[in-house]
């Protein structure tokens, strides 16, 4: 019985950990003509930094910290590039939603290709 009780405690802790480390992923396409150059990269990093979750961005070859402007500038994400965004933490879903809005809906407030 004692062992069973301890197991239950361990499972509960595991559940709590899972709640705090929710992982959300999304594939976002760069839609502005000039691609993810420094100004859009700064907007991306600014939004990413509003969240507590860890945010990683990958272009398939390179996986970088979504909160670092130098890292994001390394992605060379041209118009049409699909980036995989991964957020892990208590506000992971909100972070992904905000980044999706910036990249795909607002396309960084920049023009799309003619």
């Amino acid at each position: 019985m004692t062992i069973g009780w301890r197991n239950a405690i361990v499972e509960m802790q595991a559940d709590e950990d899972t709640l705090e480390n929710v992982v959300y992923e999304a594939e976002l396409e760069i839609k502005n003509a000039e691609g993810l150059h420094m100004r859009p990269a700064m907007k991306f990093v600014e939004i990413a930094n509003r969240f507590d979750s860890e945010i990683n961005v990958s272009n398939g070859d390179t996986d970088v910290d979504g909160k670092s402007i130098m890292n994001i500038s390394m992605l060379a994400a041209t118009c049409g590039t699909k980036l995989k965004i991964r957020a892990k933490g208590p506000d992971a879903q909100e972070a992904i939603n905000a980044l999706r809005e910036l990249v795909e809906e607002k396309h960084f407030d920049e023009p799309t290709p003619k």
């Binding site: 003509a33 000039e34 691609g35 993810l36 150059h37 420094m38 100004r39 700064m42 670092s68 402007i69 130098m70 890292n71 500038s73 390394m74 992605l75 060379a76 994400a77 041209t78 118009c79």
Partner: protein, 157 residues
Amino acid sequence: MKLRDFVCFEATITELQASDRDGAIAELVSAVDKTGRLGKGKCEEITREVIKREKEASTGLGRGVAVPHVKHKAVKDVIAVIGQNGAGIDFLALDKQPVYSVILIISPADEPDKHLQAMESVFKHLQQDRFRKFLRQCRTPEQIEDLLNEADENPSW
């Protein structure tokens, strides 16, 4: 893209005279102009545009480096130039610290992908502590060229 594909080593300045942002930008654009790669009479215009871009948002991203840049029809290929100031430049950097190494980039107006590739190449190295430290230690244009060639050959740096 490798650094040596677009860095103009002839124009390297290892001791910038200016200790302010606009002065450093003017010196670097002028150094590229002297190599004859900007087309006649474009030096001042490009300098003004780089400064204008810088006023919108600082490219002094922290850790002692700045990457001022502009897209301009005067160039057909990306051209970068490196300038250093051992005493530090007030570049209005995001971390409010002085800038010791400046990499100024002039990209063609209508080739955004080339610009992004050059930026990738620059930041891949600049984000490495060791690369920034070595760059700051360079005292001659030859040392900078050697360092960049070495970095090109060692992508894992």
